[in-house]
Amino acid sequence: MIFYLLRRLAGAVVLLLIVTMAVFAIFFLIPRLGGATSDQLAARYVGKSPTPAAIEQVKHSLGLDKSVPVQYGRFVKGIVAGKDYDTGVRKVHCAPPCLGFSFRNNLEVWPRLQDRIPVTLSLAAGAAVIWLLAGVSIGVISALKRGSLWDRFSMGFALAGVSLPPFFTGLVALALFSYQWPIFKGVHYVPFLDNPASWAWNLVLPWLTLAFLYAALYARLTRAGMLETMSEDYIRTARAKGLRERDVIVKHGLRAALTPILTIFGMDVGLLLGGAILTEQVYSLNGVGKFAVEAIGQQDLPEVLGVTMIAAIFVILANLVVDLLYAVVDPRVRT
C-alpha cells in the first residue's frame, strides 16, 4: 500500500513537470516556431499599446532573449520562487506560487484566480455527484432490465445526452426555467458560507447542465459494463451458493463493473474543466473557466497561462485522489 502510494505520488510529480513543459511549449515555443520574434512575443505580455521600453523590459524579465532551456528554467523558477515585475510605474513582487503578472490589469494572476476557484469547485463537485449517482443507477437498472421500455427510453435519452453540446442545453434550460417559467430566476453565484440554500438553488441549473452530458455517458458505460460482468461465471457461482440477488448485484456485479467507471471518472475530471468552462460561460458564473475566456478575449496571455497551470495542477491532484479511491475499490492494484 505504501509503495503504491509512493509510486503514484512520484508519478504525479513527473506529470507536473511534463505539464509545465507543455505549458511552456504552448506559450513560448510553438509561437516561436510559428515565426514570432522575441519582440513580438514580449509585446503580447505588455499592455494594449506597448512602449519599446516596456517590451524590452518584459523580454528581459521573461528571459525571451535567452536560449530555450534558460527560458524554461526561469519559467519554473518564477512559479516556485516568485518573481519581480517592473511595470514602469512601480515594482511588484509576485510571491510564490507566482503564476505571472497581468500587465493589462496591473495585477498578479494568482490572487485574482483564487477568488474564482470556489465557484468552479462548487459547480464541478455538485455536477460530479449528480452525474455519478444518476449515470450509474440508470445504467445498472437498464442492464438489469435489458430490452425493457425503461432500458430503451433511458438509452435513447442517454444517446441524446452525449450528442448535445452543454452550451446549448444550458441555453435552453435558461430560456425555459429562468425566463419562460422563472423558477430559477437570475442565476448567479452565492458563496456557500453566505447562504447555503441560495448557493444550491442558484447552482441547480448549472449542475444539471454539466451533469447531463456526463450522466448520459456514464449510463451507457455502466450498462455495458454491468451486462458484461453479470454474464460472468462467478456471478452464476454466487447465485448458485444461494446469495440474495441484491448481494449478487451489488457486491459481485456492481463492484466489478465500477472499477473501469472509476478509471474513466479520473480521466473525465480533466475534461470536466472543459465542461465547466462552457457551463460558466452560458450562466455567466465568475469561475475559473470564465476567467480564462475573458483573458482570451482581452488577449491577456499571462492570465491564460496562469489558468492553464492551475487547471493542470488540479487535474493531477484529482487523478491522485481517484488513484487512491481505486485502491479502495479494487484490492488487486495495491501491490
Binding site: 432500458d151 430503451r152 453540446p165 452550451f167 441555453l171 472543459g274 488540479f314
Partner: protein
C-alpha cells in the same frame, strides 16, 4: 438504441450482389465485410444516421450553390427586415419566410439558413481532417506499442496517459490564443482552421491508440500470426498483412464515433472564440452570438443548437450501428 438484429435472419438472407459477382457459383462464402454490410442494412436507425450525414456533407460541399437559390450569401445584411427599434426580425419564428426559411439574425439581419450551410463547411472540414489526423497517429502509435511491446510500449502508453490527463479544452484554448495573427506563414481563418484541426487531432489520438494497442496485443499472440512468423515473415509483413486487416473494423467504428466528439469540440472552441472569427460563419460562433439574445430572439439559438445536435446524433447512431454490425457481441 439500435434495433436488435436477429442473427438467424441474417444468415438466411440472400445477398444478390455477392451471388452475381461469384460468376455462376451458387453457394459462395461471404466475406466478413459482406456479412457486416448485410447486418448493417437491416439496422434502420443506423441507416437513417448515414443518410443525415450524407445530406450534411452535401450541404457543406454545395453551400454556395444552395445559398444562391435560398437565403443569399452568409454575410449579406438584410437590416430592412428587422424591427428598427428592437433590432430583432419582424414576424414570427425569428422572421422565417420563403426567402429566409430559418429566419434572420437579430442586429445584423444575416440569413440564418445560409450561415448554417456555410458553418457546416467549417464543422465538417475540421471534424473530418482532425479525425483523420488522430486516426493516423493513433493507429501508427497503437500498433507499434502493441506489437513491439517493451520500452516502446511503456513510453507510448505513458504518453497516452499524459494526454488523457490533460484538460484538453483549456490546452486547446491556450494554443489557439497563443497562435494569434500570423504563424507558420498562415493568417486569418486559414491559420485558425489549421490550428483547430491540429489541436483537436493531436489531442484525440490516444482514444484510437488505446483501442488499437489492446487489439494488437491480443492478435499478436494468435496462431495465424505465429504461423506467419514461423514461415519467416518480416515485422512489416505481419503488421500490414496480418494485423492491420483485422483491425479495420474497430478502427472504422471508433473513427466514426470520434467524428461527433470532434464536431462538438470544434463547436465548443468556436463558441469560446478560439475558432474562426466573424464574419465567417460557424455553428459554435452562432450559438455564442445567440447566447445574450436568448430571450428576444430564441430562434437564433435554437437553429444552430439543433443542427449540431442532429449532426452529432447521426454520427453516433451510425457509429453504434457499425459496431453492432461488425461485432455482434457488443450488443
Amino acid at each position: 438504441m439500435t434495433a436488435p438484429i436477429e442473427t438467424t435472419g441474417v444468415a438466411r438472407e440472400a445477398h444478390p450482389e455477392a451471388i452475381a459477382d461469384a460468376a455462376g457459383a451458387r453457394i459462395e462464402g461471404r466475406s466478413l465485410g459482406q456479412i457486416a454490410w448485410a447486418r448493417f442494412r437491416r439496422d434502420r436507425v443506423a441507416m437513417a444516421g448515414g443518410v443525415v450525414i450524407i445530406f450534411m456533407v452535401l450541404v457543406a460541399i454545395f453551400a454556395p450553390l444552395i445559398t444562391d437559390v435560398i437565403g443569399g450569401g452568409p454575410t449579406e445584411y438584410h437590416d430592412d427586415l428587422l424591427d428598427p427599434v428592437l433590432n430583432i426580425p419582424t414576424g414570427s419564428f425569428g422572421g422565417a419566410s420563403w426567402d429566409h426559411p430559418l429566419g434572420l439574425e437579430p442586429v445584423n439581419g444575416r440569413d440564418i439558413f445560409s450561415r448554417i450551410c456555410y458553418g457546416a463547411r467549417i464543422s465538417m472540414l475540421v471534424a473530418f481532417l482532425a479525425t483523420l489526423l488522430s486516426v493516423v497517429l493513433g493507429v501508427v502509435l497503437g500498433t507499434v506499442a502493441g506489437y513491439f511491446g517493451g520500452w516502446v510500449d511503456g513510453l507510448i502508453s505513458r504518453a497516452m496517459d499524459v494526454f488523457l490527463a490533460f484538460p484538453l479544452l483549456l490546452f486547446a484554448i491556450a494554443i489557439g490564443s497563443s497562435l494569434q495573427g500570423e504563424a507558420f506563414g498562415l493568417h486569418g481563418d486559414t491559420l485558425r482552421i489549421t490550428v483547430l484541426i491540429f489541436v483537436i487531432g493531436f489531442f484525440s489520438w490516444p482514444y484510437i491508440a488505446r483501442i488499437v494497442r489492446g487489439q494488437t496485443l491480443s492478435l499478436r499472440e494468435r496462431e495465424f500470426v505465429e504461423a506467419a512468423r514461423s514461415l519467416g515473415a518480416t515485422d512489416r509483413h505481419i503488421i500490414f498483412k496480418e494485423l492491420l486487416p483485422n483491425l479495420v473494423g474497430p478502427i472504422l467504428v471508433y473513427s466514426t464515433l470520434l467524428i461527433p466528439t470532434n464536431i462538438l469540440f470544434e463547436a465548443a472552441l468556436s463558441y469560446l472564440g478560439v475558432g474562426v472569427q466573424e464574419p465567417t460563419a460557424s455553428w459554435g460562433g452562432m450559438l455564442s452570438a445567440a447566447t445574450p439574445r436568448y430571450q428576444d430572439a430564441p430562434m437564433f439559438m435554437v437553429v444552430p443548437g439543433v443542427t449540431i445536435f442532429i449532426t452529432v446524433l447521426a454520427f453516433n447512431l451510425l457509429g453504434d450501428g457499425l459496431r453492432d454490425a461488425l461485432d455482434p457481441r457488443s450488443r
